[in-house]
Symmetry: C2
Subunit: 355 residues, 2 copies
Amino acid sequence: MSSTRSIGQASTIEEVAQLAKVSVATVSRALRNLPNVAEGTRKRVLIAAEQLNYRPDPNASRLATGRTQAIGMAVPMLGRWYFSAVVGAAHAVLIDAGYDLLLFGVATPEDRGRFITEWAVLGKRVDGVILVDLKLDPNELEDLALAEARVGTIGNMHSPFSSVTVDNRAAAAVAVRHLLNLGHREIALIGHQQGDWPFQVPNDRHDGYVDALREFGITARPELQRAGGFEIEGGYDAMTDLLALPNPPTAVFSMSDEMAFGAIKAIRDHGLRVPEDISVVGFDDHEMAKVMDLTTIRQPVQESGELIARQMVTTLKAAATGDAVGLAPVHRQLRTHLVVRRTTAPFSGARLRNG
Amino acid sequence: MSSTRSIGQASTIEEVAQLAKVSVATVSRALRNLPNVAEGTRKRVLIAAEQLNYRPDPNASRLATGRTQAIGMAVPMLGRWYFSAVVGAAHAVLIDAGYDLLLFGVATPEDRGRFITEWAVLGKRVDGVILVDLKLDPNELEDLALAEARVGTIGNMHSPFSSVTVDNRAAAAVAVRHLLNLGHREIALIGHQQGDWPFQVPNDRHDGYVDALREFGITARPELQRAGGFEIEGGYDAMTDLLALPNPPTAVFSMSDEMAFGAIKAIRDHGLRVPEDISVVGFDDHEMAKVMDLTTIRQPVQESGELIARQMVTTLKAAATGDAVGLAPVHRQLRTHLVVRRTTAPFSGARLRNG
DNA sequence: CGAAGCGCTGAAAACGTTTGCAGATGGAGC
DNA sequence: GCTCCATCTGCAAACGTTTTCAGCGCTTCG
C-alpha cells in the first residue's frame, strides 16, 4: 500500500527512458503529448513515468526552452486589501493554466526599477509580468519593449501592453458629485499625493475630484487635500488634521475605503457623527465597506485580477505559437459605480467651526 | 546618456569571459566573490560584467547547483487579511535575503497534497517551503522528511520542522473566559468546523472554547457552534442563524475578526446593539478591529511571517554549509493577549427570546 | 520493381551555469 | 639550483531537459 504513494527519489528522464526501453527524446515527446509518437510507446512511457513518479525538472526545461512557465506579479503594498485581492484572483487563473506565480513587492521607485531591469528583463525568471498600479517611466517602458517582455498592467494603461483599468478620474468625479448634489461645498480629499509619486491612480482620482468641484464652480483648496498613505492609520491622521482646521469640511472623499475607515473612526473619536456631521465616501468597495455602511465607488477588483491573468495567458500562448495578432495589446476598461450606503447625507446647513 | 541605462540583449557568461579575457570559470568565481581569484582579475571581470549588463541566468544556475534561491509559500485563502499580512511580512525578509517568493494557494486538501508532493518535493522549484496554517497528515510529513525538504510552518507545529505558533487553545480560552467573567453563560462560537478539516488552528480554538466553558461548569452546546468560513459573509450568516434560535446567545466568540465583523453587522441589522444586547470577541487583532472597537485576541501576525522567513533563511544557509546543528528545527511560540475594546460588556441579566 | 512519402524513433547538440581537477606561475626554503 | 607549496587560472564534465536531423521500416503509387 505504501507503494502507491511513496515518493522516492526524484528520477530523471533517463531512468524513465531505460525503464520504458526507449530514448529520452521519445520520453520527452510522449510526456508532452506531442504527435509523432506511437500510441503503444506513449503508453509504455506513461506507465514507466508513473512508476518512477517522474516529474521533469523545471529548471532543465526552462534552460532548454527559454520558457519558464512562470509569471511575476509586481505589487506595491502587499498587505493592502486591494492588492491581495487582485493577487488572489490572478493566482487562481495562473495556477490553473499551469503557471507559477512569483511575487515581487515594489515599495519604492528604486524597487520598481530594480524589478523591471534586473529581475524581469535580465533575470530569466518569468515569461511575463503583471504590474499592479505601477506607473512606468519612459525609460522603463523602452526597456521592457526592447526586451520583448510580456507585460500586463492593472490600474494604468501603457499603450504597448495589455491592461485592465477603470476610469479613475470619472469615477472619482462621480463620488464627489454625489457629495455636491447632497449640498456639500467644503469637500475634503484624502489620499492626495504631492510631488513625484510612482503611481498614477491617485493622480487620476485627484483630477476627478478637481473636475467635479469645478463643475460646481468651486476651486479645489490645497488645505482640504491630505495624503493618507492608503492605509487606515493614514486616513485617521489625515481626518484628524482636517478636523483641526478653522473651517472643517462637511464632507470627505477618500481615495480608498481603508483610508475612509480611518477617517470615520477619527470623526467619531472627535465626538462627531457620520453622516450627520460629516459625510464620507470611499473608493474600492472593500469587503468591509458593507459592514461599515460606507458609501463608495465599487470597482471590480477580483475581476480585474482574473482578466489580466487570462490576458497574460493568451498573450503567452500567442507568443509561443508565433501568432502576431494575438500579441497585440488589448485594453479593457471596466465599469465602476457608486454604491450609496449610509455614510453620506444631505448637507445640514450647519458649518463646523474651530477656535 | 542612454548608454548608462540601456539594457541591451541578455548576455552570457561566455561574452563576459571574452571581454575580460579570462575563462568562464573565472568569471563565475569572480562574480560570486569566491576566494582564489586575484584582485586585479576580479576587477576586470566586474567591469566587463557591468559593461555588458550581465546577469547570470538563474535557470542555468539552478540546474548546475540544484539550488533555486527561491522559497515557496503555501497559503489557504489568499484574500484573507491574516494570510496576506503573513505573506507580506515574509516576502520582505525573503527578497531581502535574495530569495524569490513563489506563491501557492491551497484551498482544498487535494491542493495541499498536490502542492507537497508534486510541486515542492518532486518539482525542483524551491529550496524550501513555508506552510501557513496547514495541517499535514502523516503521509505528507513522511514525504517531506524523505525528500529532505526544508519546511517552516506557521500556525501548526510539526515537530520535524521549524515553526512559529501561538497557543491557540489557551488564547481562545482567554477570550471566552473574558465573556464568562462578564457574566455571560450562553456563549456562541463562530468558526467551528465539523468533520475533517485540513486546518488545525480552528480545532485548537474550539478546544479552548470548550475548556473555558468547562471551567465554569458549562458544557458546550452544539447548536451554539457555527461554521463561518472565516470570512465576513460567513460570520454574518452564522450570527443570523444564532439570532434565530429560541434562546439566542448573549455573547459570541468568533475565531477570526473578520467573522466577528460580519457577526456584528448581523446583530445590528437585527435591530440589536453591541455590546448592550450581545457581546462579541474576535481573534487576530485585524487592522479593522480598532476601527470597529472590537474586543479581540491580538496575535503577532507580521512578526510570525518575519520570524518564519528568517528561520527559513538560516536553515537554508545551514543546509548549504553542511551545518547539521543549524538544521535542527526550532519552535517558537509567540504570545497573544486580550485587547479589550468596546464590543464586550457585562451580561445585562436580560435574555433574548424568540417565538 | 523502384521511388517517394509517411510514421515513428534515436543520436547528439544545444541551453548557460558550476565545479573538480590539473596545470602554470612564482616565491620561499634548503 | 631544486623542491615544495600557495595562488591563481583554465579545461571539461556535469546538471536534465528540448529539439534538430537523420534514419529506419512500411506502404503506396507510378
